[in-house]
């Protein structure tokens, strides 16, 4: 059993077990549970337009606002503003009734997708506190702050910082810290407590209603019927009859909230094995500054990577804009690397090649460099022997991939397939290993099967042509491709390639011909199907020879 003081991974270095407290439930509610994503054309405050949003709200004064959705056959209110709440409106009320009470009520329909996006945006922003962030849909966010709180001057100041910043964006929120996820959620949703001290879960939970245990509504109703209303009523009851009557979920939720049973947080994104970050008193905006910070952070990652004998294969830069937008930029490398100057050079290409320029807005106040993927890299011996040779090409591949995208810089790999378009595949050069890549096997097959020559260029898709053959199953005597007529003067073939008949949609037989036209241009044509077939087989042009 893991007690309330369990240890969580932290965010500097790798799995540093220095944390003591875990679990923070953060919930926002108040004016309207999901205030503005449901507002038509209202900008998302997660994008930093809190002021505009406030303006939108004040334009629709008096602030009698509600969001409605269809529940069953009834149009109901799902969230109301503070003013409307004072006026007697409640979530769950029928819209018709609300309208009768307040004819000037402004109603917007619910947009769950937009709500979800907003919550994701806020969760992304919360990564500035800890890399372990999870959603508690539809309106909560969970942060694992074990080992992080001291970086912000303690739990209380972390809580204050977070509350103040989110309030600045224009949200109303309730935040709480506790040692278990269950207790944190109960504290934020069902109590006024902000921080539950470690070990005090039982005392804290005892007076709360059963709904605080995250139980389904019908279970709570059933418990209420037998007189169990508060968590206190439940804690000391014999466990076996409870489970027999109400199912295992009840006690599991209770145990989790009390810390008797571990409940892992499921973070939105995997936690990077290495990361380093830098906060700025004054936001930075210029690209050179960003690059300088990258080099500085990479220099801090280098000893960590070195100590474990690893090199980075995939690196991500996360930039937190002052207005809440989070920008992620990743680069991949073909070599395992940890050299700061090299990492900076890769990011320079990547930033230059961005389709949408890096928009700093009012500046970035936090930059974080994560190594998403690391692989073993032996200590390097500099400039001896042939190892430097491959490195030069790898550096080029990395530079090109960073700027153009890794899918655009490819090596060709032989595949075990007969169909020409499947026989060779282009794979990102960063992923492919230089060297054989399956071509030795292809050469052996080619010698053994005496394959006809293949063209150096293959059309991405075979193009249909109009062809006339002199004899059935013979090469065409003339054909028309891209509106030009070609008279065939020499032909070789057919080379019959059977498609994958053992699969359902394997396709038909192809007869390939190598032909030369009157001007000396050479083509690789094929007839799809046999002449016996009806309708008459179609001809295609697949490639061009030199």
């Amino acid at each position: 059993m893991i007690g309330p003081n369990r240890k969580y991974p932290t965010w500097t270095g790798r799995g540093c077990p220095s944390g003591a407290r875990a679990g923070e439930g953060l919930e926002r509610f108040g004016e309207a549970r999901t205030p503005h994503p449901a507002l038509p054309r209202a900008p998302s405050p997660a994008r930093g337009e809190g002021a505009e949003r406030a303006a939108t709200w004040s334009n629709i004064s008096p602030a009698f606002l509600a969001i409605s959705a269809k529940r069953g056959n009834v149009e109901e209110l799902v969230a109301v503003s503070a003013a409307a709440e004072r006026g007697g409106l409640r979530p769950g009320m029928a819209l018709a009734q609300a309208r009768a009470m307040h004819p000037d009520l402004a109603v917007f329909s619910e947009d769950r997708a937009a709500d979800r996006r907003l919550l994701e945006g806020i969760a992304e922003w919360c990564q500035r506190y800890t890399p372990l962030v999870a959603l508690d849909a539809p309106d909560g966010i969970l942060l694992d702050i074990a080992g992080c709180a001291h970086l912000f001057g303690g739990e209380q100041s972390l809580l204050d910082d977070l509350t103040a910043r989110i309030a600045d964006f224009g949200f109303t929120l309730r935040a709480a810290i506790a040692s278990t996820i269950g207790a944190a959620i109960a504290a934020s949703r069902h109590s006024a407590a902000a921080i539950v001290a470690p070990g005090a879960e039982r005392a804290f939970l005892a007076p709360l209603p059963l709904a605080a245990l995250r139980l389904p509504g019908d279970l709570v109703a059933a418990l209420t019927r037998v007189g169990l209303k508060r968590i206190d009523d439940l804690i000391d009851l014999p466990r076996a009859p409870l489970t027999a009557r109400f199912g295992p979920q009840l006690l599991r939720q209770l145990d989790r909230a009390l810390g008797r049973e571990p409940e892992p947080l499921q973070p939105r994104a995997p936690v990077a094995p290495y990361l380093a970050e830098q906060r700025f008193a004054e936001p930075i905006a210029r690209e050179e500054d960003v690059l300088r910070v990258i080099e500085k952070l990479a220099a801090r990652l280098e000893p960590m990577l070195e100590r474990r004998g690893e090199g980075a294969r995939k690196i991500e830069l996360v930039l937190f804009r002052t207005d809440g937008v989070v920008r992620r930029i990743a680069v991949a490398t073909s070599r395992r690397m940890r050299d700061p100057a090299g990492i900076r050079a890769l990011f320079r290409e990547r930033l230059d090649g961005l389709a949408d320029a890096l928009d700093p807005g009012f500046g970035f106040d936090l930059a974080r460099l994560c190594v998403l993927l690391a692989e073993p890299l032996a200590a390097e011996q500099i400039d001896l022997g042939a190892s430097g040779h491959a490195a030069e090409l790898d550096r080029l591949v990395d530079r090109l991939s960073a700027r153009l995208g890794s899918r655009r810089v490819t090596r060709i790999v032989a595949q075990d397939a007969h169909l020409p378009e499947l026989a060779a595949m282009r794979v990102p050069a960063q992923a492919a290993v230089a060297g054989d890549n399956g071509w030795a096997a292809f050469r052996a097959l080619r010698c053994a099967a005496d394959l006809a020559p293949r063209p150096p260029r293959l059309l991405v898709k075979p193009e249909p042509i109009e062809a006339i053959a002199a004899v059935p199953d013979g090469p065409p005597v003339r054909f028309r491709w891209r509106r030009a007529l070609h008279e065939v003067v020499a032909a070789e073939g057919p080379e019959r390639i059977e498609c994958a008949w053992w699969t359902e949609d394997g396709g038909g037989t192809r007869d390939y011909f190598r032909v030369e036209d009157q001007s000396g241009c050479r083509f690789w044509l094929f007839r799809a199907g046999l002449y016996r077939a009806i309708p008459a087989p179609a001809w295609f042009l697949h490639g061009m020879f030199a």
Binding site: R399, L400, T410, A423, A424, A491, C521
Partner: protein, 271 residues
């Protein structure tokens, strides 16, 4: 009586002081690299090698243009054969549009041209600007140290200006790799490239005595016209590529094309 063009041009000018000439040579040196025997790839055709001053210079930019749009495959083949002759990997950079129109590099077919598919790095670029950038990067990498690309082949569909070719020329001059610019149409604009070839396909020789339709096409033939040459005369040649021996032959069964003009005062002044 005919006078040598050199003397005709030189005689009216006052003799230049030695220092000025030496300075000028130094300034222009990076743009006009000296061709030496070890930095040139010989074709094995004496007339063509003589016109190029020993062979195709490495560490220089060469333009290879298709004689017409339909002959791009022939121009590609010619460029690949040349690229394969220099040691080291080949970086083939092409615009997306060129790949869609003319086909993408196909590994299994490269070997017939002497290029092992393992040596190829194929790069697709969205715009011609990216092609030029990637070429310059690749050439810089070739100059950066051993193990860089031995040849860089850029494929461009549109025009390219003098500044761009000069940049590529200078980048190529810093290393020993072969810089090739493959163009889909013959160009007339000025260029800083060392040579410009117009390449077309030519009907191959049918295999010995067989009915043409029944026998396959023979070894590929290229009709190669050297239309710009910084260091020597121009000319046109018919080349046949022997894929077994991996070399060019001058076909024996054809009349040779018009002999290259050795003496060309006008072109020399304008080229």
């Amino acid at each position: 009586m005919l006078e040598s063009p050199d003397r005709e041009l030189a005689s009216p000018a006052p003799p230049a002081p030695q220092g000025v000439l030496a300075n000028l040579r130094r300034t222009l040196a990076p743009e006009f690299p000296q061709i030496t025997a070890d930095s040139a790839l010989a074709f094995g055709i004496p007339a063509l090698d003589a016109a190029l001053g020993g062979g195709l210079a490495t560490g220089a930019l060469h333009e290879i243009a298709a004689a017409r749009e339909a002959e791009i495959p022939a121009a590609t083949g010619f460029a690949l054969i040349l690229a394969a002759r220099n040691r080291g990997p080949l970086v083939w950079i092409a615009e997306d549009m060129a790949l869609a129109e003319n086909g993408a590099p196909y590994g299994a077919g490269l070997e017939d041209l002497g290029l092992a598919p393992e040596r190829l790095i194929a790069v697709a670029a969205a715009k011609s600007r990216d092609v030029l950038w990637a070429m310059e990067e690749a050439l810089a990498s070739a100059a950066g140290g051993p193990g860089g690309p031995g040849a860089v082949l850029g494929e461009i569909r549109g025009g390219i200006d003098l500044t761009a070719t000069r940049r590529l020329s200078l980048a190529a001059g810093r290393g020993r790799s072969l810089a090739l610019l493959l163009r889909s149409t013959p160009a007339t604009e000025p260029s800083a490239a060392a040579t410009r070839f117009l390449v077309g396909a030519a009907p191959s020789r049918p295999l010995s005595g067989a009915i043409p339709m029944a026998s396959g096409p023979g070894p590929p033939r290229f009709c190669v016209r050297l239309v710009r040459n910084r260091r020597g005369p121009l000319g046109a040649w018919m080349l046949e590529f022997d894929r077994v021996e991996q070399r060019f032959n001058a076909p024996a069964d054809r009349e040779s094309l018009a002999e290259a003009a050795r003496d060309r005062p006008r072109q020399a002044a304008s080229a």
